[in-house]
């Protein structure tokens, strides 16, 4: 009897940890939440929009994570926001993120309207992926880049945005 109880307890612990791990891996983020997050003063936000199905995005993700790792002691926040379908959270996005062990925070866009989400990120964004938003509220900087980045390019962008 005690053995069964112990086993059940263990099972519960495993479940809780798994749930926690998943929760930590990818959280949902609405446009309101994102706007609030990036309005934080004294921090440079580099927000990359990507998707698991987007080849060029997957290729450049390590570049963004490298930047976060390199400047972990500076007021820089790299946010990786997946534009995958919400229905793909557990089947595609979470497994992908768990395989990559990103240092940066990863989210899945929780968008009631794709159109509204895109427009509120930046009026000039066509919706093509990948895309990158740089925000420095203190410097009144808000710029969207509909392009891919190499590490030197991204590093330069960060240095110029500080």
């Amino acid at each position: 009897m005690t053995q069964i109880r112990l086993f059940l307890l263990l099972l519960m612990v495993v479940f809780v940890f798994q749930a926690k791990a998943q929760q930590k891996a990818v959280r949902l983020l609405t446009i309101d939440q994102l706007e609030k997050r990036v309005s934080h003063q004294d921090t440079v936000f580099i927000v990359n929009f990507w998707a698991t199905w987007c080849g060029p995005c997957v290729k450049e993700l390590p570049v963004f994570d490298q930047l976060q790792k390199t400047y972990k002691n500076q007021p820089l926040k790299v946010l990786l926001i997946s534009m995958d379908f919400k229905s793909k959270l557990n089947t595609a996005v979470v497994p992908f993120v768990q395989n990559h062990h990103f240092t940066s925070e990863v989210f899945l866009a929780d968008k009631s309207s794709e159109q509204e989400f895109i427009d509120r990120i930046d009026k000039n964004w066509s919706g093509a992926l990948p895309g990158t938003l740089v925000i420095n509220t203190k410097k009144n900087l808000h710029k969207f880049y509909e392009q891919e980045f190499t590490y030197p390019e991204l590093n330069k962008l960060y240095q110029n945005s500080k």
Binding site: S126, A128, E146
Partner: protein
């Protein structure tokens, strides 16, 4: 020396901006093109003398979002070609960058799926640059007038790529409005898509 470099860079970027261009806005007159179809023949808008307009769609083989819309693109042609609004699909990607979008693979896809519309290859990328398409799939609904082919709608096919909860069929609504002699209510929309990789000029 550094100054010269900066100057050159400015010059180069202004040229690039000029070439890329902002593309069409609703109300602009769209230019015709002459692009090679998967059957080897070239296709132009003027090849459709009976058309009242066109549903020009920049799409491709490789993009999962374009693929998600493939059956809806096929349905659009079935629905509207006979009413005077045929679908003209254009693949803009440089096969050197994305081999899956090569003319051979386009032909394979069109044959397999029995496309009822032309699937053209924009080999120079010029048409795509002129129209201003940035992502696939991207639709331009044109209305034939005495002045030329007027852009009436630019954007997504509908408001749900996944197709599980479509609330607004943008292209259908636009074409239906035009067919009944009205202007579309929604004239431009945005949606997530695969960035187009044009051949460098």
């Amino acid at each position: 020396m550094k100054r010269l470099f900066v100057l050159l860079l400015i010059a180069a970027s202004s040229i690039a901006a000029k070439v890329a261009g902002p593309g069409y806005k609703v109300g602009d007159i769209a230019t015709d093109f002459k692009l090679k179809n998967v059957d080897g023949k070239t296709v132009s808008l003027t090849d459709y003398p009976a058309a009242k307009g066109y549903i020009v769609i920049f799409t491709c083989n490789h993009c999962p979002y374009a693929r998600a819309y493939e059956s809806r693109i096929m349905a659009l042609d079935k629905m509207y070609a006979s009413k005077g609004y045929p679908v003209i699909a254009i693949s803009p990607n440089d096969p050197a960058a994305i081999p899956e979008d090569s003319p051979e693979n386009m032909k394979k896809r069109a044959t397999e799926k029995k496309y009822s519309f032309p699937y053209l290859f924009d080999d120079t990328g010029l048409t795509t640059r002129t129209y201003g398409a940035k992502a696939t799939p991207h639709v331009y609904v044109l209305k034939k007038t005495a002045k030329g082919n007027v852009v009436q709608y630019i954007g997504a096919i509908d408001d749900d790529t996944e197709g599980t909860n479509i609330k607004n069929k943008y292209v259908e609504n636009a074409v239906n409005a035009l067919l009944s002699g009205k202007n579309p209510t929604i004239t431009s929309t945005k949606a997530i898509g695969c960035s187009i990789k044009l051949k460098a000029i």
